[in-house]
Symmetry: C5
Subunit: 359 residues, 5 copies
């Protein structure tokens, strides 16, 4: 979260004085130039193109108006080009502003001729860290345009299905492709929720059986990641719910059913998150209790040792005094009797501790 | 929870790239081959059949279209056969996918010609553990199809009632059979809630009267099981509520009343769960307090012993010094006076502790 | 809660396999035989009858159809008789099942020709314990039938008003009698809430002024009783609200106003409960703090004593050493100087503690 | 809360057996006789009368039916007179019962010809205590009747405005006078909320800068008072909201706007209360932490002193032994070398503490 | 918060007796005289005027009725002038009262001919403190009037856009100017939320890696500021939501879209606040745990040192006794054997601590 939010904040302050609709990139530049990918497809055919710049991409789109097209733009730093793209598709200027304001909540905006959807695209990195970026999707009658911050996304399998013609995707309207995109995003939420669940179970094992090697910062970190995931999923559920419930002309009847499934998935991830948060809170209690018990253990050792030896040391001290007139010192068995007394004191103490269940 | 969720996670990652509607089993294989059971019944007649495979089962169903039939399938690993079953009944492919995705929330889907219901089937095992599996139910005009993960379920008494013709079940429409299935599932929730209640009371007794033999992990475990039960009951209540409230053509008027009862039962289990969670939280406090008090007790013993003997040892130390000129040492009653001083100090200390209510 | 819930659980497990509508008593038998009481009344007249069994009671009811009648049945163990009663009045078999399932939430069921109402009847016993039993009420056009588990209820004053003709009750329709029954139940909730409030204040006094004689188990017990009361009141409020809001043909317009009052009372009790729960939670904090402070006090005494005497004992130890060459020992004022040093050390320590506000 | 609630409880138990509508005073008598005050006013004229009893008051009201009248009754113990008043105005008997049941929540009842409103009248006493009493208001077409428990209220300025003809109040309908009464009550809530806010800030200063002179009971007391205020404000907001939203024929259009303002004020007080509760909870944490830190400080001092001197005392002890054959004792610089060793040990310890940041 | 609230409280008490609509300034005077600023603008033209007093300002407004005008008034102490302004524009007297009651929640009031909006204007000061003042906005058909407490606001960039003719603002209706004002206010909420987020991360770093230099008061302070921000944002979101949802004739269709954006921004800030509150609570736990661990560490050191040396000191004490008959003392290797015993004891103790993982 750190890198992106720091940049975001710096730009935030800068941006707070600009008029609404100012297209200012609030993230950090992650690619050298914008990367354009176009997938043109129809039921029988699919073609992948990588135009070098917006002029070329525009030409391709103009030439293939009959085919369904998915234009993916990677990189958000070149706000000028993004404004050009926005003007080409006649998007609202506040929507264009939002593409490059990279800390949006997931949302769905209905602009009569097109829909604008924002989603948080999370990915599980090999080191178990969560990588977060903003995904903007514009859905037109025959075209989908997506914007992402950096190379690498969760859509590889979707691309393969398009290219290899697997599944129903090529034959259906473009709204199904939108669903497929969002489904890929939400599937990844599942993967992340499960990974966090694994980590939580590992932490649980540590807390239960090896509290010494447990570090509370791990649990705190996990709770932060759960918050991050939750922040992504909650508004996503609203988006799925709205697509599902309201009468949006652009969605075919058949797709409606898939949208309901999407909504169910979001609810399921949220369920998982809430349960994990509850367990994490419970673990906190268990750990705190372990710490208390360890303290009790330490105190007990100290108390037993001190309580036995302090009186004995006192007795020894008494007979180390140098008074002229100390009759015990001259008694032939004085020394042995003192030992007897000391052993008796120690034994009484030990029995008393045993009765108190401290031993 | 561990075994099933681990498998689930492994498959989850694998699945996250597949097209929607991919039938991938996310659980672990628990039977060698799918097991088929068919109960054919009409008001006057009831027959139990165990076809060896789907082809045989299909033949039976085709031949007895006039009778009400309940087909139960045990085992979900053979996704190919399950797809065949789904195609035979013309289920939506997302529903078929959900049968074998074994971490669904309870839900109700209305597919015009049939209903698809998912429920979490919990069973109380002899060792008080909770066994959880997914139950999928398809309700057609004259047929019910159920899928479960492994042999053993909560429907034995229902089967007996069908076979022996007890109760009204044979004479009523097939929707009543759906209700009877869900009622068996929810009745088991009750049994589990009560068992957890028993365990909580046992833990309460330990915390209150034998805190030494209490282990916080027990309480943590119980809270996890309560979460698990709650996760099953909450969506089940929604399902019962929806069946109860909305106008679903498939339900006879007479069944409606039973559905309301089902909903009431879910609410009652939830009530129980919430109260137990509240009590568990309260117990936590009581236990933490016991731990604190034990610590206080230990500290008090240490402090009393140390506070009495440390000054006495000092006095003994003083008269153990070897100065040439120490007049007290040569006084004939020096030694006795020192003893008097030491006893006085000890008595003053003890009185002071008594005034402070430490003794 | 213990006795009744244990029985309830045992029967629960037994019952979980029976068909819906099985009339199984889930409580423990509390009377030898069912006890029947009938009060027949009309504006000018009131008669109390105690038929020995259901046959007699039935005859009385058949003979006095013109008069308003309240039949009260005490004891639920004889399920066969209760089924007979139910069949006589043509109640739904699920309702009959609920009469003897003694762990129901308060609820209101509208069965066209009659209403079925369940309420939790709580009574404050002389030892401040709360006695709980289930009250089932069936409201017909001219008859009220009530079922309770054991002798003794909260209706004595209502009976007196009927017999002595006090208040408006004889002159009004039977629905007013239902209101009067529920009002008696809710009034008792008030009494209990107030008793718990008294106990909470006593505990508060203990925590604040005599923490030594306070036992956390008392507070835990009180919170459990608050939960129990809350569990009774919450659904009761829903029942009162539904009777108040919906158009139930059976209620006269004039009674509607009384029902609103009933609802207000429930809300008021709930308010009380919530405030008491808040205060109980706050008390917990106060007590925990008292425990911490006591620990601090103990540690402080130990530290002050130890910190003063440990250095002094060291000094005494030094001059107890037996080296040949220790010039201080032979100095004529060596002993006095050592005393001076030791007193100085002690005074410095004490001043330092005073500056630290430990003394 | 104590005095009034104790009386309330005693009567509660007594009352729990009476028929609904029994007029039983549940508070404690606070005046000798009921006090009657009548203010008669019209746009140009205002007159204040103090009839000695209800008969006189009744005569005045009968004679001045054309003028707007506000009758204020102080004292609730004489239930007979209050019933007479109620019958004169034809109030519902449950409403009359509520006047003298002095633990009502604020509420609004619409009785066609008149409204009945209950409010909790809180007053800030000079010693910062909150004085609470119940205020009942009956609003008729041309008359307002108010009941309060004891002399002294928050309406003095309202009376002055009526008498001196300040503001619009004389010229407006009687419903504006109701608003003015409630506005006075809510304004006082503000004053109390602010006073509690002041106290909270004082406590915050203590906790932060003088934790020694802070007593947790103060915070507990404050939280209780916040609960008390909240209990008064929450239902009051509902009352204001209902007056504002629903179409109550008795309210002029122009008054509606004032009612909205009343509602806003309630919301604002509630906002204040919630924030103060949050801060109070935060303070609790801060204080607990202060207590922990103080304990740490004490332990550290003890540990440093003990850890330095215990080894040194041991060394001194060794050379205090009386063995015949201890060569060190006879070495000419033995004593000095022991001192060197002891100083070295102490210095090493101190350095180690410094490295651990304990010094 | 302190300065303004203290004044507010003082006036509150004073005000609690005044009639509704009394215009009493509840803040503290922050400017000598009211400052007036008028910006007159039309699509092609923009003029800034600074009339010296209300008479001049009034004349300007009268002369330029055709142009869109934004009148900004700084300073609220001169209630007489503010009443004059209110009468000139025929505002409701409760609205005039609210302008100078400087502790209002954000709200929107629809007065047919004009709207009255209150917002909390927060500004981030260079020292990271949050400066809060009340902003009142009156929206007429062609005129906006704003009131603020003191010089300095968040509108500088909006003024520049008007003067320099940047953006669409000059060309649009006056309702867009209202949106632009609120957008500036909400943008500043973002900046503040991000600044608090930065501070929280700094505190997190401290707690995690330098717990010694962390002071809990910092976290408490941060939580208070989060509460303050939340108190401003929550009602603001309601205002934005109401402007967005309801059919307010004054808003052009085109502005509606911007209002939705405003609402989204409020929701986003609230999301941020809630997450930060969650993290802050988690940090509290982490810190408390750090404190516990430090205590454990201290206790462990004390226990190890004491437990090793106390028995050794006892042994030394024994052979410091002066009994005549102590054979060990005269053994030629007695001294060496005692050393051996003492070393053995110490080694055993150390090994035992190592086995307990304390070393």
């Amino acid at each position: 979260m750190n890198e992106s939010t720091e940049n975001q904040r710096a730009t935030m302050r800068l941006k707070a004085g600009l008029p609404p609709g100012s297209v200012v990139f609030t993230g950090s530049r992650k690619v050298d130039d914008l990367i354009f990918d176009i997938i043109l497809y129809s039921p029988k055919h699919c073609e992948t193109l990588s135009p070098a710049n917006w002029q070329e991409a525009r030409k391709i789109l103009d030439e293939h108006k009959a085919e369904k097209a998915w234009l993916n733009v990677t990189g958000l730093h070149d706000t000028q080009v993004i404004e050009e793209i926005g003007n080409y598709f006649s998007w609202h200027k506040l929507a264009i502003e939002d593409i490059v304001s990279v800390n949006q909540r997931a949302k769905l905006e209905d602009h009569d001729k097109h829909f604008y959807i924002v989603a948080r695209m999370l990915r599980l990195m090999p080191n178990r860290k969560i990588d977060e970026e903003q995904l903007s999707i514009f859905l037109h009658k025959n075209t989908i345009v997506t914007f992402q911050e950096k190379p690498g996304d969760v859509f590889d399998s979707l691309r393969n299905r398009l290219i290899e013609g697997k599944g129903a995707i090529r034959g259906r309207n473009i709204d199904y492709c939108l669903y497929a995109l969002l489904d890929s995003v939400v599937d990844q939420y599942f993967v992340i929720a499960e990974s966090l669940g694994d980590q939580l179970e590992e932490i649980e094992q540590l807390v239960m059986y090896k509290p010494n090697s447990f570090d509370l910062a791990m649990l705190h970190q996990l709770r932060r990641e759960l918050l991050k995931l939750r922040r992504a999923v909650y508004p996503m559920r609203e988006v799925a719910g709205r697509m599902n419930n309201t009468d949006l002309a652009i969605f075919e009847e058949g797709t409606r059913f898939f949208l309901r499934d999407l909504h169910d998935h979001c609810v399921q991830v949220m369920d998982n998150i809430e349960i994990q948060r509850d367990i994490a809170t419970g673990l906190m209690d268990v750990y705190m209790n372990t710490v208390s018990n360890r303290m009790n253990e330490i105190m007990k050792v100290l108390t037993i040792i001190a309580t036995i030896f302090i009186p004995l040391t006192f007795i020894a001290g008494v007979y180390g005094m140098n008074f002229d007139n100390m009759p015990e010192l001259h008694h032939p068995y004085g020394y042995h009797m003192v030992w007897a007394v000391m052993i008796a004191v120690a034994v009484v103490m030990l029995l008393w501790f045993r009765r108190k269940k401290w031993l």
